[in-house]
Symmetry: C2
Subunit: 216 residues, 2 copies
Amino acid sequence: MTPAATPAYRRLSVEERRSQLLASALSLFAHRAPEDVSLDDVAEAAGVSRPLVYRYFPGGKQQLYEAALRSAAEELRHCFDEPREGPLLARLSRALDRYLAFVDQHDTGFSALLQGGSVVETSRTTATVDGVRRAAADHIYRHLGVTGPGPRLRMTVRMWITAVEAASLIWLDEGKEPPVEELRAWLVEQFVAVLTVTAGRDPETAELVGTLTAEA
Amino acid sequence: MTPAATPAYRRLSVEERRSQLLASALSLFAHRAPEDVSLDDVAEAAGVSRPLVYRYFPGGKQQLYEAALRSAAEELRHCFDEPREGPLLARLSRALDRYLAFVDQHDTGFSALLQGGSVVETSRTTATVDGVRRAAADHIYRHLGVTGPGPRLRMTVRMWITAVEAASLIWLDEGKEPPVEELRAWLVEQFVAVLTVTAGRDPETAELVGTLTAEA
């Protein structure tokens, strides 16, 4: 017989325990509004006691939310990783597929975060979200082979990224319609269309559009 | 000699005083971040005492901010008022001119409000901002002569409205460059471009694009 003092589960290291708590928090925050997640829920999902959650996250729910958000942001940045080879629009399509899969898997949390006015929103959460946007823009410039993008190209890329976020929110609102493949193809077409509009006013962008069109 | 009991200024009615306080608050919130505006600033700008401000706005700065925001939202809705006559894109250009003039006049407040994470942001301020977005979309549908827009048209219009907001924020960030006329013309071109992309997937939008192109 196993002595009662030996726990049935393996003891986790500090890092493992922290990761486990974060993963539990993230999966709760992904599918509920932040105000509908309590520390008790996190403790229960992780199979630990509430004081243990506090030991790792003394700032309570707000700290846990921000840590979960940073971890989600990290995951989202990985969505943008794409080898710099093959046609540009095919690379963009693959990155968008991963981004939209992330949106699909974190639906409620994604909406709550980006719709604003949430109880857990602070300048730190805003900075995390802005960091992801900047990373997305930097990836696009890198793939386009642009090192110091001019103001018109920058504005166009940032507007398109915002439009992709808006489309993702609306897509969630509309019960994930149209099908994700259609949404993705449409967003890629919009990317080309808005760049083409800017090309009419900006030689740098005109050159890029020339490359994109030559590949197609 | 004027008796000392007669004040040099005319007594304002309750409604007039409230409007005066709101106007003072709005002009402060337009050019400073909300955390940099105090009730004392509002009292001083309105030439009244701090207790008088509290009498009208017992909820203090938060209440004053929300009331000023509602008043700004009302003003912004008026920007969209445009007679339903003449070419559609000329109407859109005029409405955008007024919108961008509003952005120009309320620069810091506009950025603070839309960048999120502000101390005064609540679900009520978010709802006010969303109300303006919805009003903008409704105006566009009305001018396009659409009563029950389909999901693809709705998504396109809402994405473009979000992109206009993003462009406005970036424009403020970039020291109001490019010149406002160029920004406005470019946003109109983007409107046509994104509708044209959607037209390839949606007969309702295709018909509208046909009308827009025929007018040009």
